[in-house]
């Protein structure tokens, strides 16, 4: 099974990349949006593991390495085939 970890900057943390993208979108004429925030996605593959167990494992990975919880937030989702 596969899990997707979506990591993004917390509210209030400056996202200059998002701001630069926002400026470009505005330049292209896209006006119907408020803000752009960037992030990253990590896909974890597990073999022979129960869903709950895998999510717990992914949670530990996020806390120990994948996420800098000072500035980033994350969510773990199950990737449907």
């Amino acid at each position: 099974m596969k899990l997707i970890v979506n990591i993004s900057l917390k509210e209030g943390v400056l996202d200059p990349e998002g701001q630069a993208i926002k400026t470009s979108l505005l330049n292209l004429g896209f006006k119907n949006f408020n803000d752009v925030r960037t992030g990253k996605q990590i896909v974890l593959s597990f073999e022979k593991m129960e869903e709950n167990e895998a999510i717990l494992e992914a949670e530990k990975m996020c806390q120990n390495l994948l996420v800098n919880t000072v500035i980033e937030k994350y969510e773990i989702n199950i990737l449907k085939d």
Binding site: V13, L14, P16, E17, A20, N64, L65, L66, N68, V70, I71
Partner: protein, 230 residues
């Protein structure tokens, strides 16, 4: 004085700091490869600048979880001194040795230029005691993620405990913005609770010879070393 310099895949300021250490202390520092775990007792460990592990995931994140860091944590618990420069500062934060976070420069530019640092009225620290409070040091920066970010609470704590070592200040005759990265409170370097660990974004090893355009890095490093050896 026994010094060590850590080397990760992607470190690129290790040679420069080793040359500086050799000039100042007269002894060649030992090289600490990231996979190594056995080292003699050292007075000072320097984590140099560069792009450890290609800046993958987050700057310093992978280096901070490598075997050599466990040894550095032991060194710190023995009261040893550690200086993290640039990527070294990022690694110290990722390892949880220093607090806060270093995020992308505010203007999205890799900034490589001289900065002026003001020595803060900080706590007792071997890195600061030899300097005069309020003194200015001209030391260059070269980074993309040097914007020190912390909660209001942590910023107050760092200020009240005298753990801010250096701040960027305005240079006369400069058109550049004095704060090169948008760092909170213009912070350029912070100290650990015991004052023995310093993380700083500027590169003192790039200001040790007049051919570099200045020798303030030499002054800073030699005064620190005098204090560490006692």
């Amino acid at each position: 004085m026994r010094t060590g310099v850590t080397i990760f895949p992607g470190s690129n300021c290790d040679r420069d700091i080793m040359v500086a250490l050799k000039i100042i202390t007269g002894k060649t520092p030992i090289k600490m490869w990231h996979k190594d775990t056995e080292f003699p007792n050292l007075d000072l460990v320097i984590i140099p600048g560069g792009f450890s592990f290609g800046d993958y995931l987050r700057c310093g994140a992978l280096a901070a979880r490598s075997p050599v860091i466990k040894n550095i944590k032991n060194h710190i618990s023995r009261g040893g001194a550690v200086l993290g420069i640039c990527n070294g500062f990022q690694i110290l934060i990722e390892a949880g040795i220093l607090p806060g976070s270093l995020i992308r420069n505010k203007r999205l530019l890799f900034t490589c230029r001289n900065t002026t640092l003001k020595v803060q009225d900080s706590m007792k620290s071997p890195f600061i005691t030899g300097l005069k409070k309020g003194d200015y040091l001209n030391i260059p920066v070269a980074h993309n993620e040097g914007n020190f970010f912390a909660s209001e609470e942590l910023l107050n704590e760092l200020t009240n405990d005298g753990r801010i070592a250096f701040k960027y200040v305005k240079q006369t005759n400069s058109y550049d913005e004095y704060n090169p990265n948008g760092s909170s409170n213009d912070i350029a370097g912070i100290l650990s609770k015991n004052g023995k660990v310093l993380g700083m974004m500027p590169h003192p090893e790039r200001a040790i010879n007049h051919l570099h355009g200045g020798t303030d890095g030499f002054q800073f490093l030699s005064k620190s070393f005098q204090q560490i050896v006692g």
